[in-house]
Assembly symmetry: C2
Homo-oligomer: 352 residues x 2
């Protein structure tokens, strides 16, 4: 990969305006989300643990290392091809915990129900959560239910939080990428986001686009068995692969270069993206991971991913470099290069 761009004197292409009110983009996992965290949440809750900003936080408790994570789910519609809000809520928190290299164990579930929600609908969602928890090998151990007036909420919002055990030898985190590291991706991108969009926009393709929602803890365990020397794990949900890699580049103070031709995309997802003017690199995934590994371990880790049912289409998609720290640069399909900045706001609201 080469780098044709000159980054001297680079500045943000769009000045961010001051928003006095919350807009949908603040929940989009892009620049606005990051600003909210940096300027509002972090200064108030200042502590070293929160400042790490990984998918989960690592704590020490009586000498035991725990990963803890929380995620609220507000996806619309509640049921979509390939899944529903319930399994998404289980898999999402399982995955956030797994991205520390931790083995997820115990989850909580907080439900905010809208008055008038059919109990039958809730029952289907809860059954599906239970099945997802069992498949992932985690236990749902505590819960809470609140009900809000009809018209507020959207049927069901679910928060899941959870904890897992971090093996002693691991030091995985978004700040651990090093120049020379190899960037791996476990499979096709954009499936979850475009499954949701296809339903919302009423798009029909020859094949239905299905969400990739899945628990990644088994895959991570297989990867760690192949090599514990993994530097970064990330599941590229809101904001997609582009936002995740931008965050890693910034947190690690390195540049990342990827080759767009190497990124697997299902044909139906590519068509849907073209139709809607979207770039799959920014579209949410719910069952994929990025792994950044030292060159000596790349082959072993890639082989382990490909042997797992969730990683058959895994690929090397790029490298970590010393140049342009904090930035993601992509070699485009036609051979040029472009800076892939983090998006300001939200391409797809209410995606998870």
């Amino acid at each position: 990969m080469t780098n044709n761009l000159n980054f001297e004197g680079w500045s943000c292409p769009l000045p961010l305006r001051d928003h006095p009110n919350i807009i949908l983009g603040h929940g989009g996992g892009g620049k606005l989300s990051a600003e909210l965290i940096e300027h509002l949440f972090l200064p108030a809750f200042q502590n070293d643990l929160l400042g790490n900003l990984g998918d989960s936080t690592i704590l020490s408790l009586n000498g035991t290392r725990l990963a803890m994570s929380t995620d609220s789910f507000v996806v619309r519609p509640l049921f979509f091809p390939g899944g529903n809000i319930g399994e998404l809520a289980i898999n999402g928190t399982v995955n956030d915990i797994s991205m520390s290299g931790a083995r997820p164990l115990y989850l909580s579930a907080g439900f905010i129900l809208e008055e008038g929600l059919p109990l039958d609908t809730l029952g289907r969602i809860v059954e599906s959560m239970a099945a997802a928890a069992q498949a992932a090998g985690v236990m749902l151990v505590t819960g809470d239910t609140k009900v809000v007036d009809k018209g507020h909420g959207d049927g069901v919002y679910i928060n899941t939080s959870g904890i897992g055990l971090v093996p002693d030898e691991l030091e995985i985190g978004p700040h651990q990428a090093r120049p020379g590291d190899v960037v791996l991706l476990s499979g096709t991108i954009g499936d979850h986001g475009m499954a949701i969009m296809s339903v919302r926009e009423g798009l029909e393709f020859e094949t239905t686009i299905e969400s990739d929602t899945a628990a990644l803890n088994g895959l991570v365990a297989a990867m760690l068995a192949a090599s514990p020397a993994i530097h970064v794990l990330r599941d590229p949900t809101r904001g997609g692969v582009a936002s995740s890699l931008n965050e890693i580049a910034q947190r690690s103070g390195v540049g990342i270069q990827i080759d767009e031709n190497k990124i697997p995309v299902n044909p139906a997802v590519r068509s849907a993206c073209e139709l809607l003017g979207m770039d799959p690199i920014f579209v949410a995934n719910e069952g994929k991971l990025i792994a950044i590994v030292p060159p000596g371990s790349a082959e072993a880790v890639l082989a382990a991913i490909r042997q797992h049912p969730l990683g058959r289409q895994a690929a090397v998609i790029g490298r970590v470099v010393e140049q342009h720290p904090g930035m993601l640069v992509a070699r485009t399909g036609i051979g040029g290069t472009r800076v892939v900045a983090m998006q300001i706001g939200e391409q797809l609201p209410r995606i998870c």
Copy 2:
């Protein structure tokens, strides 16, 4: 206390109807909430830990005993006399963890924000959460923010989840009450619920009714230092003292008798309750606890509560008995006795 009632052949005074849809009462902490848990959540997520149904669940992790809890907050209005949704969210989860006798340590926060919420409002809530966390000595270590469309949500919903360390020797839980145990209450009841109702109904009294929202972990630590032999701890939030004692009676398979004259109630709360036709025993508290202790420890624990700033008005309010297992019986102000059944639904919707 005597017991003038005959419980032979007792049955529920109101047959519960089958609700095909969620109603506000399902979030009220009464019978409908309990039914939802028993008939929908528990069968799906069946496991022994969830079945304990305490305010928090006790887990074992590498030999370390942890308490874990989750709570979502949907209180309306967001700001009320004596507090706001932010500090309520911190104190609520701190208290749930403390009711296992655990020392709360780490919390997560999941925000569901409504498009259009002034950032200034969010900032005030977050500042107040940070102050409450600092006051309680807990760290907020991980978070998540989602944004929903204008008109959905109500400004802010907050989920907090958390973990704490359970000292080895403790066995505190809602199933541990034994006949002969003494029922202690740490102070006045109904303050939180009536503070919220006064604002909603525009009631004015000579003194403003303020929420009692407070973190109870310091009080619990002082009580355990006085005697670790405590059997049950419970913070009577939704559904008030009556629902908490009913739950304990059912979980422990014992009867509970209380003396209404012994229960401290602020005069303004009593007036507001009379005006609105409410019974303070069913009204939510957010900074009070019930302790059920063996008779030999009652005096020491009561003294410890009274020495704490949050327990000045603590009192012995009743006893655990062998008779009428699963039921709460109150000696009324005029000397009779009545069965205090759990309420079906919700006296005060959206109270926390």
